[in-house]
Symmetry: C2
Subunit: 218 residues, 2 copies
């Protein structure tokens, strides 16, 4: 065998091996199922009292994927300065310390409020919003946000993938009609979390994603 | 000067030089302004006759960015099987050979039609849609699409950036609230085109982009 032929043979073998290794890496990819979050509201007891009556308690409609979280039977109407209503906006339980309204940018434009992209709970300086319930209404000076992109995971996945709470990652769609890469995705780690990426309807519809579609952390 | 100190000095100089070169590359980046396309309709004369009356001619409201294209004063209402209306949907001129309805996935879900992501003009097997005008209505068996992401450019930019008509590129946001990379972006080259990327309201709102924001071809 000539040197040239030998080199060619070795090159071919090495390339084949590399290709196979890449294949194995791909199959061990950091895949995450998607949950699309429609607009919703978390209520504090103060606002529940106003909207549904003093001492009212939320009633459970169905459990959500994250343990302890549930969709309530109760809904509210949201109104902004354009005076157009978003009706039947679902209330999620359990009760929180502060009322938080989570909408998409499409909703924010419809309502006419400058809702910022924020992490859950980071409400200082967020947008004003009016909530209407069957027993009353309340206009909050702040509380409406566009939820940031985030992934819930347990410490098991975090450990396996070398991630920690509050890391920021980039996520790509796997088989979507419009291939999209989402930046600035917050990692949220807790023993009570099950693995899922939360995106809003704008992100989902931009990429053509539906609930349970998979995305991949890059 | 010790060898260690010398190496450190050289390293610092090289890094500074690299940083500056990277800066120069960035300033020569393939930047493209964005135009956000709201839902709209292109009409054939056959549908104009039905919706606005026989022989009716569209009237110009304002010119669009691409020479010859204009927004008409005329609007229609769109309805799908959910029987919910999208009102005041703008008609764009000039008249086309076939009627084409361009909506976002958010709109498609609202209407209840399975509109596919398509290039302009590729209507075979696209979604059915009902258009209502002041003089009549028409239900088309196909014609509603979600427009693909695309960039209009002249042969001058195409040449400069090594691109040709129908190439597919990837585009990233530059300064958006939610960093996003759009895949599958069609390049459309014509001497009559001015440089602009067309995205729909889902893509725009997902990334937090507005008209005239800039994106970058990677």
């Amino acid at each position: 065998m000539s040197n040239t032929a030998l080199i060619e043979l070795i090159t071919r073998e090495v390339l084949a091996e590399l290709k196979e290794r890449r294949g194995k890496t791909a199959s061990a990819a950091k895949r995450v199922p998607v949950a699309v979050s429609a607009r919703h509201v978390h209520l504090a007891q103060r606002e529940i009292d106003i909207l549904f009556g003093p001492g009212y308690q939320l009633t459970k409609r169905n459990d959500l994927y994250q343990p302890g979280e549930f969709a309530a039977n109760e809904v509210v109407t949201l109104v902004g300065p354009k005076l157009r209503p978003l009706t039947n906006v679902r209330v999620l339980g359990p009760v929180r310390d502060r009322t938080q309204v989570e909408i998409s940018r499409t909703d924010a434009i419809f309502l006419g409020i400058p809702a910022p992209v924020r992490r859950s709970g980071d409400l200082a300086g967020s947008a004003p919003i009016t909530l209407v319930g069957p027993k009353g209404s309340v206009t909050l000076p702040e509380g409406a946000i566009i939820a940031n992109r985030h992934i819930h995971m347990s410490p098991v996945e975090a450990e396996k993938w070398g991630l920690k709470d509050n890391d920021e990652v980039t996520v790509r769609t796997v088989n979507s009609e419009r291939p999209t890469i989402f930046g600035g995705v917050q990692v949220r780690v807790s023993p009570k979390f099950k693995l899922v990426m939360h995106i809003d309807t704008d992100d989902a519809n931009a990429a053509g994603l539906q609930c349970n579609d998979e995305v991949e952390i890059r």
